[in-house]
C-alpha cells in the first residue's frame, strides 16, 4: 500500500505538486476500498446464499430438539428449551434394523456398481467396442421408463421369486438403478485420461488388468469417488422400490422416516429427529469424500 502524502507539512508552494499525488493516492485508496467492498459483498452474498440453502437443514435439526407442540406453533420460535425426547422416541421405535438394511443395500449395491461399471466404462471409452453410442444409449434408455410404470411387473416378478421383503432384492435393484448413471459418469472421467500414459504403460508390457488397476484407476480415483458417492446417495434415499417391495424385515431408512407421518396428531419434531439421524451417514460420507468430490465433479467439465 502506498503511504499517503502528509498533508500537515503542506506549504503554499507545494500545493500545486501535491494535488495530483493526493488524487492519485485517493484513487488508489478508493480502488482498494472498492476492492475490499467488492470482496466483502461477495463474501456476504456467498454467506447469505449458503445460509438460504442450509436453512431448511438447520431448521430440521433445530426442530428435532423441540417438543411436538413447539414445532407446530404458527409463529416459529428460534429460542426454546431443547429436549432429547424426540431422539429417544426415534430410538424406541427401533431404528437399528432399518439403518442396517439401508447400509447393507447401499454399500453392497455401490460396490457392485463399481465392479460392473468400471470394466463397462473402460470398454466404452479407452477401448471403444463396436457401436459404442448405441450401447451408451441403451444404458441410459433404461432410466427413461418411470419406476411407477414398471412397479407392478417388478412386484409380481419379485413375489414369484419369493424375494419380497429381502434386503438382497433391494441391493440388486439399486445396482440396476445406478449402473447406467455410473457407467456414463465414469466413461466421461476415463475419456480425460491422456492416451499417451496408457500407451506408455502398454509399451512397458502391462496386462489389461494391470493397466486398469495400476494406471487407470489411480488417475481417475476422484471420478470414481464422485460416482460412488452419487450411487450411495441415490440408494440411501430411494423410497419407491423400498416401499413396494419390503414390509417387516427389509425396510430401509426412508420407510422408517415416513412411519412417523400421521394424518392425525403432531409428528413434525419426531420426523425431524429421525430425518436428522438419517442424514448423518450421507453427510459423513460426503464430508469424507469432499476433496475427491470437488475434483471429481469438475473433472469432466472442460474438454
Amino acid at each position: 500500500m502506498a503511504s499517503a502524502t502528509p498533508t500537515a507539512s503542506s506549504g503554499a508552494g507545494a500545493r500545486p505538486a501535491e494535488v495530483p499525488a493526493r488524487s492519485k493516492s485517493r484513487a488508489r485508496k478508493a480502488g482498494s476500498r472498492r476492492r475490499v467492498l467488492g470482496q466483502v459483498s461477495w463474501t456476504a452474498g456467498a454467506w447469505i446464499a449458503a445460509l438460504i440453502f442450509f436453512f431448511p437443514v438447520l431448521w430440521m435439526a433445530l426442530t428435532a430438539f423441540k417438543q411436538e407442540s413447539a414445532a407446530y406453533t404458527t409463529t416459529p420460535h428460534l429460542v426454546f428449551k431443547p429436549t432429547l425426547d424426540q431422539f429417544r422416541a426415534v430410538f424406541d421405535a427401533g431404528i437399528g434394523p432399518y439403518l442396517a438394511n439401508s447400509a447393507t443395500a447401499t454399500l453392497l449395491s455401490t460396490l457392485l456398481v463399481l465392479v460392473l461399471g468400471i470394466p463397462a466404462a473402460y470398454a466404452l471409452s479407452i477401448r471403444p467396442v463396436r457401436k459404442t453410442r448405441d450401447v451408451l444409449f441403451f444404458f441410459i434408455s433404461t432410466k427413461m421408463l418411470p419406476g411407477v410404470a414398471a412397479i407392478i411387473p417388478v412386484y409380481l416378478a419379485v413375489r414369484d421369486l419369493g424375494a419380497l421383503d429381502s434386503v438382497w432384492t433391494l441391493m440388486v435393484l439399486y445396482t440396476a438403478m445406478n449402473l447406467p448413471i455410473a457407467v456414463w459418469m465414469m466413461r466421461s472421467f476415463f475419456l480425460e485420461v491422456p492416451g499417451e500414459v496408457l500407451e506408455a504403460a502398454r509399451v512397458d508390457g502391462v496386462t489389461l488388468r494391470q493397466e486398469i488397476t495400476r494406471i487407470l484407476l489411480p488417475i481417475v480415483a476422484p471420478g470414481i469417488a464422485a460416482t460412488a458417492l452419487i450411487c450411495v446417495i441415490f440408494s440411501w434415499n430411494e423410497f419407491f422400490l423400498a416401499l413396494n417391495l419390503t414390509s417387516v424385515r427389509a425396510g430401509t431408512m426412508p420407510i422408517f422416516l415416513v412411519g412417523f407421518m400421521s394424518s392425525e396428531g403432531l409428528y413434525w419434531a419426531k420426523l425431524a429427529a429421525a430425518a436428522t439421524l438419517a442424514c448423518l451417514p450421507v453427510l459423513l460420507a460426503g464430508w469424507l469424500a469432499q476433496k475427491q468430490l470437488v475434483r471429481g465433479l469438475s473433472m469432466g467439465a472442460v474438454k
Partner: protein
C-alpha cells in the same frame, strides 16, 4: 510407500466397517428368524395414526395371553399404506395377515373376493358381540350382510365452535344448524385484524381432503355426482350453488392459506384459538379437549353437521381391520383383530393410556362406560349421534347409483376424486372460479360415468 500404506489402511478400515454393518444386519435378520421359530408370526399393515400406534404399544398385553402369536407391524402414512396394501391384496400376495382398510375399500374388496368373510369368526367368538358395533359403521363394512372387516374406530363430521366467542357476540348456535346460519355467524366472528378466522374448512387437494367436507355440503344442497343412469351432475345448479357457497365462505371468512390447509392445519388453528368454527371429523374433538395440545379446552361446543335440504349431512368413515384371503394365518390373524376391536381393548386403552385416547365411534358400549362419558362429556353424545345418523345409502336428496357420503364407492374414485379436488383447490386459491372448476370436474366425472353406462 507411505501413501500406499495409508491407502491400504483406509481400505482395511472400509472393509472392517462394511463387515461390521453386514454382521449387524445379519444379527437383526437372525433375531427375527428365531422370533418366528416358535409359534406363528402375523404381519399387520397399519396406518400411522396415534390410535394405531397405541395398539402397537399395548401389543404386549395381547402376546401375554396369546404366547404362540408374534405380531409384526408395518406402519405407513395413509396414502402409502393405502397404495401398499392395495398392491399386496390385489395381486394376491401373502405379505400381510391383517390389513387396515376403510369402509371405502371393504365392500369393493369383498365383492372382488379378496377378503375373508369375518361373520362366522365374529359370531363364533364368545363375548365379541358384533351387534354392539355402531350400526352405520357395521353396515358400511359389510357385503351382502356379512362383515368383511371389523371397525377399529369410526367417525362422522360435525361442527365445532367456540362457545365463548359466540357468547361475546350474543350469538347462539342451534343443535342442528343450517349452512346459512353458520355462514352468518362466521361473517360476524371473522376478525383478521385479531388473527381470527370465522371458520376453518379444508382447502387442500385430495379425495380424502377437501372433497370430504365439500361432498357433504354438495349432498345437503341437493347435489349429486351422478344420476341413476351415471350421467355426471357436477355442473348442475345444486352442485354449483354448493361449491360456490363453500369457496365464497372460505374467501370471506376462511383461514389464511386455505388452499393448503387440511385436517392438521385446521386442527392447529382451532387448538391455538385462531379459528372460531371448524367443520371436520368427529375424531378431532379428542385432541381439542386435550390440555397438552390445545389452548381452548372446555371452550368448544359441538353440534351436528350443518344442513340445507337433507335432514342430516355428516360423513361416515371407519378405519377397520380385515384379513386378506391369501393370509396363511387366518386363525391367528382373527385372534389379534378380535382383541384389538374388543370391548376389553377399549377398557385397556382407557385404564393404561387414558380415556381420551380410546378409539371412538366403533362400539355403542364405549358410550356407556362411565369413565369415557366423563372424559368425553363435551363431544361423546354429538359424536355418536352424528355417526348414527349418517346414511351412505341415501347421501343426498335425489337417487344415486353409488353408496358413500363423502366418497363414491367405486374403484375409480381415488383418481377421479383427487383430480376434481385439485380443481376445487385452484378455485379456493383464487386461480379460477368455482364454476370453471366444476366445468372441468364435470368432464372428468363424465368420462368415468361413461364406463358404467356401457355395462
Amino acid at each position: 510407500m507411505r501413501i500406499r500404506r495409508g491407502r491400504r489402511r483406509a481400505l482395511a478400515a472400509c472393509a472392517l466397517a462394511a463387515a461390521t454393518l453386514l454382521t449387524a444386519s445379519g444379527c437383526a435378520g437372525a433375531g427375527e428368524a428365531s422370533g418366528s421359530g416358535s409359534g406363528t408370526t402375523i404381519t399387520v399393515a397399519i396406518v400411522a395414526n396415534p390410535q394405531m400406534q397405541d395398539v402397537e404399544t399395548l401389543t404386549s398385553y395381547f402376546t401375554r395371553t396369546h404366547p404362540g402369536i408374534h405380531v409384526k407391524y408395518v406402519t405407513l402414512p395413509e396414502n402409502e399404506a393405502r397404495q401398499k396394501i392395495t398392491e399386496s391384496v390385489a395381486t394376491g400376495s401373502n405379505e400381510f395377515d391383517v390389513v387396515m382398510i376403510s369402509n371405502y375399500e371393504t365392500p369393493m374388496w369383498a365383492k372382488n373376493g379378496w377378503l375373508t368373510d369375518l361373520q362366522p369368526y365374529a359370531d363364533g367368538t364368545p363375548g365379541y358381540d358384533p351387534g354392539d358395533f355402531v350400526k352405520p359403521v357395521k353396515d358400511s363394512l359389510s357385503y351382502r350382510g356379512d362383515l368383511y372387516s371389523v371397525p377399529f374406530y369410526g367417525e362422522s363430521s360435525f361442527l365445532m365452535y367456540r362457545k365463548d366467542l359466540l357468547a361475546a357476540h350474543h350469538l347462539t348456535m342451534p343443535e342442528h344448524p343450517t349452512w346459512a346460519q353458520v355462514a352468518a355467524i362466521a361473517d360476524k366472528l371473522d376478525d383478521p385484524k385479531h388473527n381470527l378466522a370465522g371458520i376453518c374448512l379444508r382447502g387442500d387437494p385430495g379425495w380424502g381432503e377437501n372433497l370430504a367436507p365439500l361432498d357433504t355440503v354438495i349432498n345437503t344442497f341437493g347435489g349429486r355426482w351422478y344420476d341413476p343412469q351415471w350421467n355426471a351432475q357436477l355442473d348442475s345448479p345444486q352442485v354449483k350453488k354448493a361449491v360456490n357457497f363453500y369457496v365464497d365462505l372460505l374467501h370471506r371468512d376462511g383461514e389464511p392459506g386455505a388452499a393448503t390447509a387440511g385436517f392438521t392445519e385446521c386442527g392447529t388453528d382451532m387448538a391455538q384459538g385462531t379459528a372460531a368454527m371448524w367443520y371436520d371429523a368427529t375424531s378431532a374433538a379428542g385432541s381439542l379437549e386435550d390440555p397438552t395440545s390445545s389452548k381452548v379446552v372446555g371452550k368448544i361446543g359441538y353440534v351436528q353437521a350443518p344442513v340445507e335440504k337433507t335432514p342430516s349431512s355428516g360423513w361416515l368413515y371407519s378405519w377397520s381391520l380385515g384379513i386378506p384371503k391369501t393370509s396363511a394365518h387366518q386363525q391367528a390373524a382373527w385372534q389379534f383383530m378380535s382383541w384389538a376391536t374388543s370391548k376389553d381393548y377399549i377398557k385397556l386403552v382407557g385404564s393404561k393410556l387414558g380415556w381420551s385416547r380410546v378409539p371412538p365411534g366403533s362400539r355403542t358400549s364405549t358410550y356407556q362406560l362411565p369413565q369415557y362419558e366423563k372424559a368425553a362429556a363435551a363431544f361423546a353424545k354429538p359424536t355418536l349421534e352424528a355417526i348414527s345418523s349418517a346414511d351412505p345409502g341415501h347421501p343426498t336428496v335425489g337417487a344415486v347409483p353409488y353408496t358413500g357420503v363423502q366418497f363414491l364407492d367405486i374403484p375409480e374414485f381415488e383418481d377421479l376424486g383427487t383430480r376434481v379436488s385439485q380443481q376445487i383447490t385452484a378455485a379456493v386459491a383464487g386461480q379460477q372460479s368455482a364454476d370453471a372448476a366444476l366445468t372441468q370436474a364435470q368432464q372428468y366425472a363424465q368420462t368415468v360415468g361413461d364406463t358404467y353406462r356401457k355395462h
